[in-house]
């Protein structure tokens, strides 16, 4: 049994997919940084950032709808910034009272909230495009290239590898339970027997079964980690993380990196100069 839906990578042939993963990774980080540093209420800059993002989405042939649908999953978290509307600014916009509590919404607060929401929405889109257009092993290479500690990168790699195995195992356990949770036919041999046997068992019993399954999953993961370490040791692992040297970045990729970074820098400058 394979779990594919966890893997965000969508193979397509597009210039974005073909771009050097290291360049993509750095540009994505730079984009998120730019979005974060752009001053509050610099609406034209946000619109330019959004335009850049949309063109990348169209170029990647992932489809704008696909990316926007996924990005909407992050919106509930933005609500954490909701209170700034009421705590921030002088220009009262509206006010209402709940019982003895009076809440006043301010224009500055509202602008701040909308800015935060937009920024996070843009950043999430950038991350989605990166993850959907780059196979995870390539992302790991990119992390290595920008000098994220090797041990950390190796841990990401192992986590990603065994997340699937663990989910597979959980699904196998649940399937095994489902396969053995039959219902008795409604027409039993005697009415008394029928009344006394409710299929599925009591809630406490079901909870015990679920608890046992969780425990068994934990034990399996724990023992597996032991065996993986054995397999690594058997092939010479000595606690140090080693890898083959990375190939060099091609001139075209350097060009993409330079122009991308330059554009983001200009946008940031624009925002800071006029709205900062």
């Amino acid at each position: 049994m394979h779990v594919h839906f966890l893997d965000p990578y969508r193979p397509r042939t597009s210039p974005i997919h073909a771009l050097d993963p290291r360049v993509k990774f750095v540009l994505t980080l730079a984009y998120i940084l730019t979005a974060a540093l752009t001053p509050i209420a610099a609406w034209p800059v946000y619109i330019l950032l959004l335009a850049a993002m949309l063109s990348v989405e169209i170029l990647s042939s992932l489809g704008v709808r696909y990316v926007l649908k996924r990005a909407s999953l992050a919106l509930p978290f933005v609500l954490a910034a909701f209170p700034v509307i009421f705590t921030n600014g002088q220009t009262a916009l509206f006010s209402f009272s709940i019982g003895s509590l009076t809440l006043t919404g301010y224009a500055e607060g509202l602008a701040r909230f909308l800015s935060v929401a937009l920024k996070s929405w843009l950043s999430v889109q950038a991350a989605i495009v990166l993850a959907s257009s780059t196979p995870f092993p390539d992302l790991l290479q990119a992390m290595r290239a920008i000098r994220i500690p090797r041990l950390l990168v190796a841990m990401f790699g192992l986590m990603w590898r065994y997340l699937f195995v663990l989910v597979d195992e959980a699904m196998r356990l649940m399937r095994a339970r489902a396969a053995r949770s039959g219902h008795r036919a409604a027409t039993g041999p005697s009415p008394r027997l029928r009344a006394g046997s409710r299929s599925g068992g009591s809630v406490a019993w079901r909870a015990r079964v679920a608890g046992g399954m969780a425990g068994s999953l934990f034990l399996r993961a724990f023992e597996r980690s032991d065996r993986i370490y054995m397999a690594m040791a058997a092939r010479g692992y000595d606690g140090e993380v080693r890898a083959l040297p990375l190939s060099s970045v091609k001139p075209a990729a350097w060009l993409a990196l330079g122009s991308g970074l330059g554009m983001l820098f200009l946008l940031l400058l624009l925002g800071v100069l006029f709205w900062g």
């Binding site: 590898r161 699937f164 195995v165 597996r224 054995m230 397999a231 058997a234 092939r235 010479g236 080693r242």
Partner: protein, 236 residues
């Protein structure tokens, strides 16, 4: 170096004090191909894990003339290629290529040589097209073959395989047998596939309840129905 395996009076208990090996002694000469048979829980996998120092019991294990102990572990592990029973444990890297390159990389080989080893190991198990694939999307049989490639790339002198044919289709099994026959290595193969043992491995060691209960030519042992029946085996 002489590519031999010597096990002297080895006993081992798991931490839950279950005795898995009881006074096991075994000698395998260079170039010999030996089958390790026995019912489930006989201790085959446990014995195999001792051969490159992953488990340490009471007694002496010597591989290629090197006692298996802390200061020799690096050389012992380079000399013994160990394929685990479950390929999901063996394939821990993000891609097939990374996994096959792991052993050579830790032997400290130069990058060009690592690439060459990976290419030839994948060719040997006929999985050359899979280098860039991601291991968890492979089928069991494919994983098994990659697992074997991960040790072939280390160019070991001794090959130790734990149930290599379990889960393989007849064609993959046949290819594996042909592959193993062509390798001039010392081999210890734990298996329930006695037909393969008869074909490929001239000597057989039978284990049961942590002890070695028989050791001799495969043909002869497979003819001894009483022995086979006593230890839960079946004539192929």
């Amino acid at each position: 170096m002489h590519h031999s395996i010597e096990v002297d009076h080895l006993s081992f208990s798991y931490p839950d004090s279950h005795a898995a090996l009881r006074d096991v002694s075994l000698r395998i000469s260079p170039g010999e191909k030996v089958a390790l048979a026995g019912p489930n829980g006989a201790g085959k996998s446990t014995l195999i894990l001792h051969l490159n120092g992953i488990l340490k019991g009471d007694g002496q294990v010597t591989v290629c003339g090197l006692p298996v102990e802390q200061k020799n572990l690096g050389r012992v592990r380079a000399a013994v290629g160990l394929v685990f029973q479950n390929p999901d444990d063996q394939l821990f890297s993000p891609t097939v290529f990374d996994d096959v390159a792991f052993g050579p990389l830790y032997q400290g080989l130069p990058p060009a040589e690592v690439e060459r080893r990976v290419t030839s190991a994948l060719a040997a198990v006929r999985m050359s097209d899979y280098a860039r694939r991601v291991s968890h999307h492979l089928s069991t049989g494919e994983k098994k073959r990659i697992a074997i490639a991960t040790v072939l790339s280390m160019e070991p002198e001794i090959l130790v395989l734990d149930e290599p044919t379990a889960g393989l289709d007849p064609r993959a099994r046949r290819a594996l047998i042909n592959l193993l026959r062509g390798l001039p290595l010392t081999m210890l193969v734990s298996s329930h596939d006695l037909a393969m043992a008869r074909e490929l491995l001239p000597r057989m060691v039978v284990m049961d309840e942590g002890r070695i209960v028989a050791d001799g030519p495969t043909q002869e042992l497979l003819g001894d129905e009483k022995l086979l029946e006593a230890h839960g085996l079946e004539k192929p």
